[in-house]
Structure formats: C-alpha cells, structure tokens
Symmetry: none
Subunit: 229 residues, 2 copies
C-alpha cells in the first residue's frame, strides 16, 4: 500500500481528501501545518506528499525548499489556488513534481497521484488493491472502508471481514464452516452456532436496499451464502 502525506490546513478539505485517498486504497497521514508536516516527514518518509502551498505558518514553499535541500526524492504534488501562477512556477523551481489548481476534481487529483507514484515507484505501487463493487456499494479492502451510494457505511470489523470473505469468493458459495474458519478462525468448524447468520443479517441491513429480499448477499439453502455483483 502506498503511503501519502497530506499537508493541508483547511480541515474540511483535509477531511475530504483523506477520505477520498483512503478509499482508493492509500494509507494517508494528515498534517495541519508546515511544522507538523516537517515532523511527520522525518518520522516516516511517505511515497508521495500532497502539499497545499497556502499554509498559515511557515508556508508550503519554504517546506518544499527545505525538503529538496535535504536531498529528499519523495515526489511532491502541490495544491494551489488559481491565479497564483507565480507561486506555481516557484513551486516547480523548488522541486514540486506536479500541481493542481483549486478547485480541482477528485478524478484529476487521483489521476495525478497515480501518475506520480507510477513515475516514482512503478505500477505495482500506483495500481494498488482493487475496489470491489456490487449494486450501489463500493468496498475498499486496503483502507477498510465501504461506501453505499457514495456515503460511508460503518461496518464492525467482523462484518467487514465477512464481507471481504464473500467478495473473495467472486460469486461462489461460501459455507458457514468455511466462513467460521476464515473470518472467526475456528478450527475445523462444525456448525452449532448462528453467528454467521446474524452477521449476514447485519450486513444486509446495512448494505441491501431491501434487507428482507436481498439482491446481492444471497442465501444458498443448505450450503451457505454467496455474493452476487
């Protein structure tokens, strides 16, 4: 999993970007100002830095200059407001690898993130784990997040593991004992428990349009459960 350090003082924007990047399967750390960013950079070098130039304290350009003076080769993607072209040029001078001007689309940002990661690390880092979709649900195994109609759905850990176990079957039936072994780490499970059923019910409640008549999380009588895309 590729790790991204996001240095952004606007809390709302930081929150949204973190969610977006995490959902795409990146590990994300957020720094609220230049000082914190500097600290995190020295703790753990990420695979990519997303840096807002308009920071309150030290300001992003200074940080960028420091980084390059220290010889750090981590790719940096700069966020800047439109009409600050002088800033942008200065950013390139000091070693930014790419930039996007606000307001930008999520798709554009992600495309540039992927491009930078691929340039720096090759496709294996940029093209991370797949995102699974079924119906109106998107599941991101790398970040552990699930979206339904674009909204985050909170799943308990076991629920998430169960969902992934079903997804990994790619439509094949998963028996209760297989699931108990895979998700619950039971050894050689004989089924005298309804645990799986109860958790499946909770998944349906959270993810199905009509939990009583599920369209995707299906029961195969006498055999187990399977997930239809």
């Amino acid at each position: 999993m590729a790790h991204i350090l996001l240095i952004e003082d606007n809390e709302d924007l930081a929150f949204g970007l973190r969610a977006t990047l995490e959902f795409e399967g990146y590990g994300v750390e957020v720094a609220g100002d230049g000082a914190e960013g500097r600290k995190l950079l020295h703790e753990h070098v990420p695979d990519l830095v997303v840096l807002d130039l308009m920071l309150p304290d030290a300001d992003g350009l200074t940080l960028l200059g420091e980084l390059r003076n220290e010889g750090a080769r981590v790719p940096v993607l700069v966020l800047t407001a439109r009409g600050e072209e002088s800033d942008v040029l200065m950013g390139f001078d000091r070693g930014a690898d790419d930039y996007v001007t606000k307001p930008f689309s999520t798709a554009e940002l992600l495309a540039r993130v992927r491009a930078l990661l691929r340039r720096a690390h090759g496709p294996e880092v940029a093209d991370h784990l797949p995102v699974w979709r079924f119906g109106n649900v998107e599941v991101n195994p790398a970040s552990g997040t699930v979206l339904r109609d674009g909204d985050v759905v909170t799943l308990a850990p076991k629920e998430f593991d169960l969902l992934v176990a079903l997804l990994r079957r790619d439509g094949a039936v998963a028996s209760r004992s297989e699931l108990l072994e895979e998700v619950w780490q039971y050894a050689n499970a004989r089924i005298e428990t309804r645990t799986v059923d109860v958790h499946v019910a909770e998944l349906r409640r959270k993810l199905e349009v009509d939990p009583a008549d599920p369209a995707h999380i299906l029961t195969v009588r006498k055999k187990g459960y399977r997930l239809r895309r």
Copy 2:
C-alpha cells in the same frame, strides 16, 4: 489448473477420490504408499497433498514430518479414521493444515480442498470449477445455481445434489442405492423407498422440456438413472 497429490493405499478409495477430484477440474496424481508419495513429491511439487495417515509402509505421519522438516510449504489435507483423534492431533503438530475423518462426504472433502487452495493461492486457483451443460441447462456448482434457457431455476438442496451426482457419472448409470449413499448418506442402502424416484421426477419437472418424455434425465429400467448430455 491446480495439481493435487493423493497418497492413499486403499485402491478403491483412491480410484473414487481421483475420479471425484479430476471431475472437479483438478489434476491428480496418486501414490499408493509413502515411498511413492515421497518420490512424486520430489519430482513435482503439487498445489495440495491429500494424505491418508493409515499407510502400510512408512506411514503417513512420518512422511508428513519429513515434508515439514524439509521446509516444504505445500498445504496438506489429512484423511483419518474416526476415533483416531490422537493421530489427528499429532498430524497438526507435524504440520497438517486440515483433516477430515472417514467416512466423509464428497462435498465435505471438496469444500476443504477448496478452502486450503484458497488459503494458499487465492480464489483464482481454488474456484475455477467447471460449468456443466446438457440440453438447454447450465449447472454451476461453484455458485450453486442452475440456468435453463438462461433463466435461474430454483432447485431444492437435495435436488441439486442429486443432479450433481448424476452429472458426475458422466453418462453412466447410477443405481438407486448408489445415489442414496452419495446424496442421502444412507449407510448400506436397501431400496424400499421411492425417495430417489420422487426427486428425479421433480428434477424432470423443472429441467426437462417434456417431463413425461425426458430427453436427458433417463430411466434405465432395473438399473437406475443416467444423465445424457
């Protein structure tokens, strides 16, 4: 295709297991004793080993111990007779990944084979089950679904298992007692029940164009039933 090495000294059982596994789409090699198993293991490392603990010569446990001492990481599924739990525990000590106790059902063995392969190689190796067709019917054992003219047909569990049992015969006749043992797990089936007939009738009703004059699910008088593709 996943390759399985079967180490089993009972010829009848070995024959049956080989047929079952091959029919499921696995490549199967059979060793009749521990020495031969050792030889085949060194010639070509399989994706999975199915090992009967009760071998005549060296005995399975020794072989298993040797395997692990050599650092081989191939998953091993152990077959053992019921009531040999001490053997089983020793098996786990020496590195068996799972076990089934005899007598076991075909379905259970296959489920555990799939589970082990999935654990070791991921779903792409485990779940490449074939789809069977006859007439306008398509049977997908992985997802437990049956299509007729492209539409889903709902089969009861016993009906589905019966259909699979007939398909497994690949056109050969299956006697009522064989079917009772395979699908119904009757011990030594004497036929004083019409159960098989009733379920065959239901299959015909759901799958045949003209149930009264079946084109595929055929009666062989005095012998049993067979499925013509």
